[in-house]
Symmetry: C2
Subunit: 222 residues, 2 copies
DNA sequence: TGAAAAACTTGATAGGTATCAATTTTCTTT
DNA sequence: AAAGAAAATTGATACCTATCAAGTTTTTCA
């Protein structure tokens, strides 16, 4: 696999000259990870860049329950907060499938920022976006009804992928924690939406049939 | 009121030379706002700095329900995401009491960043902290039981203020939305905790009597 | 490929909490 | 200080969903 793949992939770096990208690439440690493998743990201080595959980022609550925070797709990264003094004591990263990733350690990354000031601006921009998503998730989790959260999630995905037919990147089990519910309830809610002809589904293949129906669910929760 | 109060208050700026702070201060528009007043709305592109008083930051869901995101205390700020390209289409700011605030508009702030590169680093640091809090809130809202969320919240506050006796900065109504519940349920939960002698309360005055009791609530939710 | 494990589904049940309504208390404003 | 408004409390009820259990399907891996 081409060795500069990480750096050239991420929006954080790919606006730089090819020459600079190569320099940065030498700082990155490349790694293939297999499905289910732990990629980072609380206490780690490194930037993780996703080259291919999806990485799930989740936290464990005191009582050991898992809460999925987000799925990082190729070109995304995670761990920048720890590089700026925030301490992570509960967030984990795990490979949802076989993946290629890169690491850049704290010192190297700090050096990079000094050398390439444009990076900080990019970081701030990407950060801003991430915060938005986190805020959305807060709004999201505060919806009482699972049906509402699921509908919101499904519509969000169509917005992102641009089609009404897509494959869920998550296991039902994981999607359930993301939606703040259980696999059992999620399964039932899917069934309900199918019976209302709002969507069709086969395993993780979902096709939205009635977008307005889903929207009605959301807004009908007065 | 001293005119440079905003700038000298915020961690974002107060590490700079007095001279520089004064320059920055000339860019800030100072304003007194009264309790309940709207401070910013979706679409605004300005940095809001809190000099005194507390500002609540909340969002409205499609169906008009309010979700409290955070309370910004003196020295804190809000709106930086919009200055970096993220569009805010649902977040509002409102004065919890009579307050003093400052605004810096988008262009001025961008100029500042170019002139004072140290600021971007500070911004990144503060951002990292904010992200942590948002992630905590996600974990928080995904706790099923209101009792658990309330206990977590109360313990968090003691950690922050350092004492077991404090005044809640929020109306019960607002605290309820923050905890993802209703005023009615919140009222009942408080009553339960009081009857268990975990705390005493008079209006917004809270005194934690049995910290371990509260901790047990959280970890007993297996 | 076939067995074992994991994931998903379906059913029944109990319990938590939102909701509605009514009352009391606190706060605001003149 | 009094009146009106807003907030908080209390009660009753219905419903949603977590939980437990069991069965089915899919995936994993030897």
């Amino acid at each position: 696999m081409s060795e500069h793949i990480c750096v050239s992939l991420v929006p954080l770096f790919n606006h730089l000259d090819m020459k600079d990208q190569k320099v940065i690439n030498t700082l990155a440690r490349h790694k293939d990870v297999t499905k289910g493998e732990r990629i980072f743990s609380p206490g780690d201080e490194k930037l993780v860049i996703v080259a291919s595959g999806n990485m799930k980022v989740y936290q464990l609550s005191v009582n050991g329950k898992e809460q999925l925070l987000r799925v990082v797709e190729p070109g995304g990264y995670e761990g920048e907060n720890q590089l700026f003094g925030a301490t992570n004591d509960s967030v984990f990263g795990e490979a949802l499938e076989n993946m290629e990733i890169c690491f850049i350690n704290k010192e190297d990354f700090r050096k990079l920022l000094l050398e390439y000031p444009q990076l900080t601006l990019k970081l701030l921009e990407i950060n801003a976006q991430k915060s938005l998503v986190l805020e959305q998730q807060a709004r999201f989790l505060s919806m009482e009804k699972v049906e509402e959260r699921l509908a919101t999630y499904l519509l969000d995905v169509t917005k992102v992928v641009g089609t009404t037919k897509y494959t869920l990147p998550l296991k039902m089990k994981e999607l359930a924690t993301f939606l703040g519910t259980t696999p059992e309830t999620l399964s039932r809610k899917f069934k309900q939406l199918e019976s209302k002809m709002y969507l069709r589904r086969q395993q993780k293949q979902v096709e939205i049939l009635d977008r307005e129906g889903l929207e009605r669910i959301i807004s009908n929760m007065r």
